[in-house]
Structures are given as C-alpha cells and as structure tokens.
C-alpha cells in the first residue's frame, strides 16, 4: 500500500510545515505564512475526500481504501481548524500595536502569540496522530482481507487546555 504510506507521509509533512518556526525576530508566524499552510491543508483535505469518494463508487469500490482516505480527510479538517485559530490570532497580532513592557496591551499581545503557537503545535500533533492512523490502515490492508479493519479513533479531543 505505497499510496497510503505516501498519504501518511504527507500528513506528517503537513504537521511539520504547520509548526515551522516563525521568521527571525518574529514571535509567531505572519498571517500570510499561516494562510499558506492552511491552503495546503485544505488542498490535502480536498484530495483525500475526492479519493474516498472514488473508492466508494460501485465500479471502483474499495471500502478499506475509502475508510483510510476518509480518515485522512478528517485529520486534515482538524488540522485546518487549528490553523484557522492560529491564523485569526496572527491577524489580530499583526493589526494591533505593541504596548509598553509589562502593560496590559503587551500582555495580551504576548498571550495571542503564545496561543497562536499552541494552535500550530496542536495542528502538528494532530498530523502525527493522523500519520500513525494511516500507517495502521496501510498495515492492515497489506495484511490481507482476513484482517479485521483497524479501529477508527475518529478524532481524539484536542488538548484544548493548552491553548
């Protein structure tokens, strides 16, 4: 199942890109950078959804592959949501002016940056979980049809307390 291995690798790559460190002198990535990462996640989500749909059609039915691609699409959607949060925060950071050191405005600015980074880290963790999940699908499918389908942890609740 080389295809699925590739999909798993793409998910992991998506996570690495999502959590890439900001440029020099920046606390958090610029909105344009986050927007670019989100576009990649959305494109990946779209491709996986389309593949899942193709494998559900009667003439090309492959339920196992359909499940795997659906799972990848769900992971990509969750990654997108985390990136959306980071994007919103990065836009607000970019719009507001920095305050004096230890002022309330500066404190809010710092908290926004930290929250944006936490959202990016969540995206990366979700990508890693997706990577493992898709590899599980690949292993199960390669083992043959006698194997029961791998369990489907649809989505673990994100560790929102960290945000």
């Amino acid at each position: 199942m080389r295809d699925l291995t590739t999909v798993a690798g793409m998910l992991r790559l998506l996570g690495r890109v999502a959590a890439a460190p900001p440029g020099p002198g920046q606390l958090a990535p610029a909105p344009a950078a986050v927007s670019e990462r989100m576009a990649q996640a959305l494109a990946f989500e779209r491709q996986c959804t389309e593949h899942a749909g193709q494998h559900r059609k009667p003439n090309g039915a492959n339920p196992a592959l359909a499940r795997a691609y659906s799972a990848a699409a769900v992971r990509a959607a969750t990654i997108t949501r985390h990136l959306g949060v980071a994007f919103d925060l990065s836009v607000k950071c970019a719009m507001t002016e920095r305050g004096a050191p230890r002022s309330a405005a500066e404190s809010l600015h710092q908290r926004r940056h930290k929250a944006a980074l936490a959202a990016l880290a969540e995206a990366e963790m979700e990508a890693d979980r997706g990577h493992q999940e898709i590899l599980g699908f690949a292993t199960a499918i390669a083992a043959g049809p006698a194997e029961p389908p791998p369990s489907r942890p649809v989505a673990e609740p994100a560790a929102r307390g960290r945000r």
Partner: protein, 218 residues
C-alpha cells in the same frame, strides 16, 4: 468628498460585496470540499481586511475618514475571524459526517453532526450577510460624513484607535476571541462529551467510544 472618503467607501463596498458572495458558498447539504472553499474565501477576506486596516491605520489624525476606515476594517477583520472559527468547526463536522460510515457512528451521533453542520452553515450565512449589510451602511455613512459613523468596536479595533502611549487602557479579548481560557476549555470539553457520548455510557462516565467530536455546537 475627500480622496480618503472615496477610497474608504470604495473598499468597504468591495468588502461588503465579497462578504455577500462568500455567504453563498455553503449551501446545504454542503460537502467538505464546498466548505473548504468557503473557509478559504473567508480567510482570504479576513487577511485582505487586516491589510486595509493596517494601511489606513497609518493615516494622520487630520484624515478622519481614513482613521475611521482603520477602525471599521479592524472591526470587520475580527468579525470575519469569528465566522472563520465557526466555519472551521463546521468543516470538521462535515468531514466526520462524510466519514460516518467508516466510523460506525450511531444515529444520535449522526444527528448531532448534522445539526452542527446545519447550524454552522446557517450561522456562517447569517454572519456574512449581516457583515455585508453593516459594511454597506457604514460605507454610505463614511462617504456622507462627517459625522463619522460609530462602530461597535472590539478590543482589536480599540487598540488601533488608541495608541498605547496616550491611552494605556487594559485590553480585554473581544467576545469569542481565541484566548487561553482554562475555564472555557473545561466547559467546552464537558459539552463535547454531552453531545457525543454514546447512549450506553452511564451519566458522568467518560465516553467508551472513541468518537468524541472535537468541536462544539455553533
């Protein structure tokens, strides 16, 4: 009418038009692909709006139309952020729904997912239409001003309006803003379990199914 007034009014009308168009994207029953496109449209709008806010924020106090434009665009960007947050969760719910067969969701969970998607779409549509209407009204007021229109400003816009040197006022997050709030996170998680826990779970027990939905009802 000054050049500033004309330019701010023009950009506000353009944004109003684009927000109205984006509202048409998510027509139920929406596939994840449709929602992804709508999400991207809204985020692109938010980014463009933020760029306009920053541009007009460079204006001097002697350019009241441009200063008003900075406030209005910052306010619009914050509102688009809220719409984007709802859309992100709606997209995730739609993806789960698309995956419902594989995940073996029960009828109650499917109903919950469908409700999230339907409410998310409706909330997005209403939010974008309302923003579009507000922006049109404001653009008219800007081009007719003075007096300049007053906007219900979120904290982000207030920060733009009041340079910290003159007004070091405390800045609280705007309503719905994504800030680290442990209390809110706990409440949200509890709500998730209420929505998604399988019917067989005893009250108060953690869900035995792995299908906990990582989103809330809009």
């Amino acid at each position: 009418m000054t050049d500033d007034q004309h330019e701010v009014g023009r950009l506000l009308r353009l944004l109003a038009s684009d927000a109205g168009k984006a509202a048409l994207g998510g027509v139920p029953p929406a596939e994840p692909v449709d929602l992804a496109e709508q999400f991207q449209d809204v985020l692109a709008l938010q980014q463009r709006t933020a760029v306009n806010a920053a541009r007009f924020n460079q204006a001097s106090p002697g350019q009241p139309a441009a200063r008003t434009g900075a406030l209005v665009f910052a306010w619009a960007a914050a509102r688009l952020g809220l719409v984007g947050a709802v859309l992100g969760e709606t997209l995730e719910a739609a993806a789960h729904l698309f995956d419902a067969g594989a995940a073996s969701l029960n009828a109650r969970q499917l109903d919950a997912l469908e409700a999230v998607v339907a409410q998310g779409l409706e909330s997005t549509r209403l939010g974008l239409h309302a923003l579009s209407a507000d922006l049109l009204a404001i653009s008219t007021a800007v081009t007719a001003g003075p007096p300049w229109p007053k906007v219900p400003l979120p904290a982000a816009a207030v920060a733009l309006a009041d340079p910290p040197a003159r007004h070091p006022a405390p800045m609280h997050p705007a309503a719905g803003e994504h800030e680290p709030r442990p209390g809110a996170a706990r409440q949200r998680t509890r709500h998730l379990l209420m929505v998604a826990a399988p019917p067989t779970s005893p009250p108060g027990a953690p869900p035995t199914s792995a299908t906990v939905l990582p989103f809330r009802r809009p």
